[in-house]
Amino acid sequence: MKILLVDDEVDFVSTLAERLSLRGMEVDWASRPEDAVERAQTSCYDLAVLDVKMPRLDGIALKKVLQQKCPDMRFIFLTGHGSEEAFREGTSEAGADYYLLKPVRLEKLLAKIELIRENRKKEEM
């Protein structure tokens, strides 16, 4: 599974990418939405983990752009705001697969990634 992480905080996204790589995942990261779009031009990712609040192009708008290039891409949103429920309600129209709060509990993120991986396997069967 190819994963793209996008967050404007370089220290956050690069460290999270390294932690996922140490667990055997194929991970790329970008700290600017434009760079994420450029990466998706080269090859489609299976999953994008996006920060919602980013300069110039927020996570919800970025999802729409990425989805046009890679219609089968799945999405997890991350935010530092409020509760997961409120976040889910507020962004439900955005249609991500999962919504997680920062600071991210890695085991929670890994569990969501695994769920997405299983769903994709079922869809391919």
Binding site: D11, F12, T15, R19, L22, P103, V104
Partner: protein
């Protein structure tokens, strides 16, 4: 003197607090990942993959950087919280504008713009309300920044015989300067400050003139 407050003043206070909490959350999220990575590296070392000491030193240095950043954010939060201690008193105007710039920096970042505050030639002291002045600058920038990606808002303060002034200039659309000047909240805050707002849309400049004696 009792400090007058309106709903928009309270909404401003809430908006700043929310912005600060988001900034602190970001620092905590980074520290969380860096601590997690340290733990991952230790587990790998236990399984036979050695850790380079320099790597650990760099990682712990990054954690300390984030702690310092969070500390600075909280210091600014504290200064902002105390800006309501007194309605009006003698302040170093540059320091108040500096705090406003620090609080507005995230707002500017989200628009892809930047803020620059120049140092005055000499200290500028004025009797004013720091809370309402910060609110004024926040709302002016709220009007100016949208659509201003790549632009820098330059702020400056200076003394003059009638008091002191704070100016904001930058290559933002002229209509945005007009919008800032005609924003009801900006006018309300200028009244509270006993100040006058002038806009030169052609020069892309907004100036707030603060009187030496606002009670006159």
């Amino acid at each position: 003197m009792t400090m007058p407050t309106s709903q928009s003043d309270l909404m401003f206070f809430g908006a700043v607090t929310a912005s600060i909490s988001h900034e602190i959350k970001n620092r905590i999220a980074i520290i969380n990942e860096q601590a997690g990575l340290l733990e991952d590296l230790v587990h790998m070392a236990e399984r036979g993959r050695p850790i380079e000491p320099e790597r650990l030193v760099r990682l712990s240095g990054k954690v300390q950087e984030q702690v310092a950043m969070a500390d600075a954010i909280i210091r600014n939060m504290n200064r902002f919280a105390h800006s309501v201690d007194n309605f009006r008193h003698s302040v170093d105007l540059h320091e108040v504008v500096e705090l406003a710039v620090a609080l507005c920096r995230r707002k500017a970042d989200m628009q892809g713009a930047s803020l620059r505050l120049s140092e005055p030639a000499a200290p500028v002291t004025i009797s004013t309300s720091p809370f309402f002045l910060i609110a004024f600058l926040w709302i002016c920038l709220e009007n100016l920044l949208p659509g201003g990606a790549g632009t820098t808002a330059a702020l400056a303060c200076r003394s003059h015989p009638e008091g002191a002034s704070v100016s904001i200039s930058g290559a933002f659309a002229a209509e945005r300067f007009e919008a800032a000047a005609s924003d009801g909240r900006v006018r309300h805050l200028a009244d509270l400050l006993g100040a006058r707002v002038t806009v030169d849309a052609r020069a892309l400049l907004l100036v707030l003139d603060l009187p030496a004696n606002p009670d006159r």
